[in-house]
Amino acid sequence: MNIRDRLEARSAHYSFRAKLAVVWILIFVALAVLFAAFRFDTAFMLQWLPFILAGVPLTILISIMGILLAVPLALLGALGRLSRNPVFNGISGFYVSFIRGTPLIVQIFFIYLGLPQLAQYAPGPLQGLFILGTITSGVLALGINYGAYMAEIFRAGIQSVGHGQVEAAQALGMTRTQTMRRIVLPQAIRVSIPPTGNEFIAMIKDSSLVGIVGTQELFFRASKIGRQYFQNLETLVIAALIYWLLTSIFSYFQGRLERRLARGYVREGGGPHGH
């Protein structure tokens, strides 16, 4: 028996999970070594951790409001892209194409700086609607941006519902709108929820761009303190770790949600299995 065979024989004793745990531990050890090699000022990092953490509620708030705005926009966008009404279809096509084709940061500035230029044409009481605060601007930009991306998700979701479903509904005398609302959309939304969760997680990270117009969220706090004390790397590492933690937490909940949603489509209790 050579060494390799012996190693393989021993390895077979341990479960995949145990091996995976070992790999993760090794990665963390390597990270710790790397961390030490950077010679970060840990006292400084600990000192400012609470200040940076205080941006988390705003980061989460912005992301949640952003996704709440993105979902209806995405739904309208998806329906528009599938619509035979040229006006509705055209507007949706432009929305998806333009928003996906321009950088989010430009959109944030456009809403924060550009929109107020239109206020002068609005009647007095409505002018406030054009001059948005930083948080509102950020939420609007994130919502509109993600709405465009998610419109494609929802469109795919709608198209995944078989034509037989539409025919069955129409054969029962349902109108097109009833068919869409009662039969197609509920099924489309069910398949769209997992990718929507992914978008939400991505949005948590992209909410950092909203800091650029001066929202005191996570990234803004980290970068200001970094500049103030000339230790950008330290504060950005803190921010990165917090974003990672946040996205990990939401990924966990998303995984659970996904398993729950699968339940209605499973024959007998237990995990999902195709047939």
Partner: protein, 286 residues
Amino acid sequence: MQRLVSLVAVLGALSVISACGGGSAGGGDGGDLLQQVKDAGVLRVSTDPAYPPQSFQTESGEFKGFDIDVAEEVAKRMGVEVEWQTPSWDVITAGNWNGRWDLSVGSMTPTPDRRKVLHFSPAYYYVPAAAAVHETNTNITDPETDLDGKMIGVCAACTYEAYLEGSLNIPGEYEYVVDDPQVKTYDTDSSAIQDLALGDGARLDAVMSSLYTLKEAQKAGTPIKVVGDPLFYEPLAAAIDKEAPADPQPLVDEVSKTIREMHEDGTLTKLSQKWYGIDLTERQGA
């Protein structure tokens, strides 16, 4: 029909969100800007809290610094409270604030370009501009001669860049002593300083910035050192948006008057001593 309903729902949601943010913008009616500030009892001041000792935030999020104290004193003399806003620097200097805040007390140099969009108060202090090199550097000792042809980092579109390009355009006489520098611009002074800290000549040979920004970096442990005497002094003033929704002139007059009073009664000198250790309220040198 259903589509219409959902469209209306979305628009409704949008306007609710808008209302949350738009509320503080202060309606267009109700007199001039000064009157509105007094009616609200709140002076909304923008600051970029990344520059100790002029403006920074403590661990608990409190705003501190020379600019902060000056603004709070101005507000106190007007009988109102300060509310801080933290838009990015280029958004402040570009004007067109759309009534989001009333006043900038942010150590801003009144350049002609900025004068096109902003009203300025008289200068409330003068900051020396200096050069720094990596602490291991030995061949740059006198910025008047040794910086020629060197790679120098500065903030983009700020007075230091203009100085190196020989196009400084602010009140006063200036002597441009650095010949043919290679200018590398950064989003802020802080980024330039951190790049210089990587090593002598690694990316930069020197950085030009406010003497106090450089000293603060040194104090924070950044391996750089200031060399020679200040290259010039720049006046720094408070600013107000020319395109404010309500007439800004009375507020400009009021702030200017207050700053002159603070010069005369020694308040500014006292604050300068507190934060900088010396009196920077009079123009010196150059």
